[in-house]
């Protein structure tokens, strides 16, 4: 990362809940000829900057689609990045006049929103899924735009977990810290910030060790909250400011933090389904085997290794439904509408509904007329 990118990186990381729009359009990386690959992405500033970094030294075209300033995955899940937006970008940039290769490479995480066949029908371009993560792009391009199986699954390395931790504590501290400063002075504000940051950072650091959607998530969160509060209280004592009110406020800050994380810690990870969307009525991915024609389109877009192809039977199998994060990508992509969600209350949601609503609208996904 260049030093001049640092302010933008900090803004995009800390305020990731808000959209940050990059310029849309067709941009060259290196010196691409008319036969260079065309990579599609969304116009979230952080995404575009990271894509440019990842592609340094390559020759490619980058088609930045209007995803309304959201990252590809969220935009596709929220209905802000669809095949209509990709088709629109291809036409607006006159892509067909600028490149000879009649293929675009789509980000795999766009699969909840982008239907490949619609793009081909409207533009005549073939489509192909790239890897789930952009740091795998150089290797992907190096082997002639072929994805290795392992590149389809979402990793969530330690540093990225800390970036996600920041989206919780930065907005919370913007609200809480000035109020505490005004009431009890800078030492209390600093200690409260330290308590909250320690709690959230430790939680995300240790995320691979516990399950934030399970029934025990409240005691786990309270445990981290208390540990963070102890750190804050320790800092207060070290600064000689451990008064009854300052101690209470530092504890209360972490209680608020625990409440916020209880709402939906899982939804800010690529490993777990959002609990707000599913709530008390969790969904299970199921396969109607009679409909499955073994195209494997679903396997290519699953970021969680839930599905696998049984080559000898030419059928897809659900390998590990417990890993499913309910992004719906497989359901959207299946050409035979063979995958669906079964809810705990006995209801089912099929492909046409997912294609219209994408994610679960705060648990209010409605049936659509077929």
């Amino acid at each position: 990362m260049k030093l001049s990118d640092l302010p933008g990186y900090l803004r995009d990381t800390a305020f990731r809940l808000l959209p940050h729009r990059a310029r849309t359009g067709l941009f060259p990386i290196g010196d691409p000829g008319p036969d260079a690959p065309v990579l599609v992405t969304g116009n979230f500033t952080l995404t575009v900057r990271r894509l440019r970094e990842a592609l340094a030294g390559q020759a490619a075209w980058v088609l930045v689609v209007n995803s309304k300033g959201y990252n590809v995955w969220c935009a596709a899940g929220g209905g802000h990045l669809t095949h209509h937006d990709v088709i629109s970008a291809m036409r607006v940039t006159h892509l067909a006049d600028k490149v000879r290769r009649r293929e675009v490479i789509l980000p795999q995480l766009a699969a909840t929103g982008v239907e490949r066949r619609a793009i081909s029908a409207a533009t005549g371009f073939a489509t192909r899924w790239g890897p789930a993560r952009l740091e795998d792009l150089p290797a992907f391009l190096g082997r002639g735009s072929r994805v290795f199986n392992a590149e389809r699954f979402m990793r969530f390395p330690a540093w990225e977990r800390q970036e996600m931790a920041a989206i919780w504590y930065v907005p919370a501290l913007i609200v809480l810290a000035p109020a505490i400063w005004l009431m009890l002075g800078p030492a209390a504000a600093l200690a409260a910030a330290f308590a909250l940051v320690s709690m959230v950072a430790a939680l995300f650091a240790m995320l691979p060790r516990f399950n934030p959607v399970g029934p025990r998530r409240l005691p786990i969160l309270l445990g981290f909250g208390l540990a963070g509060a102890l750190a804050g209280w320790g800092l207060l004592a070290a600064m000689g400011d451990a008064m009854p009110w300052t101690l209470v406020v530092v504890g209360a800050t972490n209680l608020i933090g625990t409440g916020l994380l209880f709402m939906d810690l899982a939804g800010t990870t690529p490993w777990y389904p959002s609990v707000i969307n599913t709530g008390a009525n969790p969904a299970t991915i199921t396969l109607d085997e009679a409909r499955c024609d073994g195209s494997g389109d679903c396997v290519m877009v699953c970021p969680r290794q839930v599905l696998k192809m049984n080559g000898s039977r030419r059928k897809v199998e659900i390998r590990d439904p417990g890993q499913c994060i309910q992004c719906g990508a497989c359901i959207v992509q299946c050409p035979r509408d063979a995958l669906l969600f079964h809810y705990a209350d006995g209801s089912t949601v099929e492909a046409p509904t997912i294609r219209n609503t994408r994610l679960n609208m705060l648990g209010k996904r409605r049936e659509v007329r077929r």
């Binding site: 116009n43 209007n66 995955w73 629109s88 690529p270």
Partner: protein
Amino acid sequence: MSSFVWMKVLESTPERYDRGIAMLSGGRIAQVYGRIAAIAAAPGRRVLDIGCGTGAVSFACAERGALVTGIDINAEMLEVARAKPVPEGGTIAFLQLAAAEIEDRFEKTSLDAVVSCLAFSEMSEEEQDYALEIARRRLVPGGVIVIADEAAPATPLGRLLHRLRRLPVVLATYLLTQTSTRPVTGLAGRMRAAGFVDVSQERMLSDAFVIVRGTRP
């Protein structure tokens, strides 16, 4: 590209959208819909509504007897629009299409009017130019285009004051309905550049809205 962050915040239901727009306009948005229809719609006129959402402008045009097609890329919004009763005299069809896909469904000179409300501000500048260009080609000579959107004051200081004044409403609306709008700028100039003539604009709702109109020569 690497996060699954708070998707629910980004998901806005159509009902919440309608409520959000009503809040942002202080309940006066219907005046804008009516004004667009008054300029563009008349009995038998073929009207295209770009980014129709839940169909408010489409229905305002159909009430005046126009034959309306509303397009939007949001299937859920269209589902809500389709459930509303069609006014007598007019007709309405809704299609799931982006502005750049108009050319796939509409012949040249097959439209008498193109309208759009709160949709151009969601497009990139290049998309706006492209949409204007293909809209012009789909209009008959003498056909009108009417685009309404949130407006920002012309000067930087005016824009800052405008933002500060609006901030409480914007925050409350976003929290309650996950709906927001962005002002659009330079629309009249874009319209002229796309080949429209007699381009004029009027402000509504205490300068918060601008309605820009033009004619295909």
